[in-house]
Point group: C2
Chain length 173, copies 2
DNA sequence: GTCTATACGTTGATAGAC
DNA sequence: GTCTATCAACGTATAGAC
């Protein structure tokens, strides 16, 4: 991976996350990366190839974030970590996650399955905590987290401490 | 409003909701509406004017949906109606709502304020029901509803009866 | 690996006839 | 109100030189 290649990737990530995939031209990416436009196609084949390279790179980061939650054995601690996910996610790799959310609407490219390990883990945690309906409880919190992350990524002003405390209290953690 | 104008609007709504605003060309809209491309610009000025005409029309429908909830005086009934919103919304005016959700990501055109009346109404309802933290409770359910509506609009398979019953039970309605 | 030059369809938009 | 013809700018993508 040369320096120019990295320039292309980081410029593309930023632009795609900000303005969307379709609305970002390859020439814009080239300029932002201080690179000739042809180079993008040499390295990534076409515009979609560039997007996929970005997505592949992010995939590993996503797994890291998830694994910290789903391999937690203490059920209360697991729910606690899940609840804090939106606020952590928003700080590091902000652009990557914004791109993910944009893409699921722009290209209907939603990896619905990416939530699944987390949902299963939460279901299990709620089971251990003797909740009446663990499956629904997990789905409920999944939709909430999805909505919350989205709001944060769009820049909504959210009082994270207040929200976290409210949730910790609600789930008696 | 002539027939051709209506053709343009309905074709545009469908295409914008399906494929996104940027990804839909005016020529595509013209073909789908069986109309010359020039006519679109005669009537709506430019592509964004067409989008705004669509949004204005939808605004009234949105108000109707909201008003049915927020003017409910019985707090339990209000929460019940709010909970059922995602499932009702998805049936009628599906394309309009899908466009709304797409737009808030594609053009960062999110009318954050559009949720506000509902949020205020829910806060009030939770107050009447003696909840410990009505404001946060309303915000919590807002994010949940946002996530849920999104999932439904993207075509996620969701068991609406199971989900509704779970929620009615959870909020003791 | 990288750049320049270029091909060529598509895009949003306008002018003028009917 | 509606259509046809037309435009310049921009879009993705390729070829060939260094």
């Amino acid at each position: 991976m040369t320096e120019k290649q990295e320039n292309i990737l980081s410029a593309a990530l930023k632009l795609f996350a900000e303005e969307g995939f379709s609305a970002t031209s390859t020439s814009k990416v080239a300029k932002a990366a201080s690179v000739s436009e042809g180079l993008i196609f040499r390295h990534f084949g076409n515009k979609e190839g560039l997007l996929n390279a970005l997505l592949d790179l992010g995939q590993e980061k996503a797994k890291l974030v998830y694994s910290n939650v789903i391999f937690e054995t203490d059920p209360k601690e697991l729910i606690r970590k899940a609840i804090q996910l939106p606020f952590n996610v928003a700080k590091e790799d902000h652009d990557f996650w914004r791109l993910q959310f944009k893409l699921k609407w722009e290209l209907n490219k939603y990896n619905e399955a990416s939530w699944e390990p987390l949902q299963v883990a939460m279901t299990n945690a709620f089971k251990k905590l003797k909740y009446k309906n663990p499956e629904m409880e997990a789905e409920y919190i999944k939709h909430f987290l999805d909505g919350l992350v989205g709001a944060i990524l769009r820049g909504s002003p959210i009082d994270d401490i207040k929200m976290t405390n409210f949730l910790l209290d609600k789930y008696q953690l």
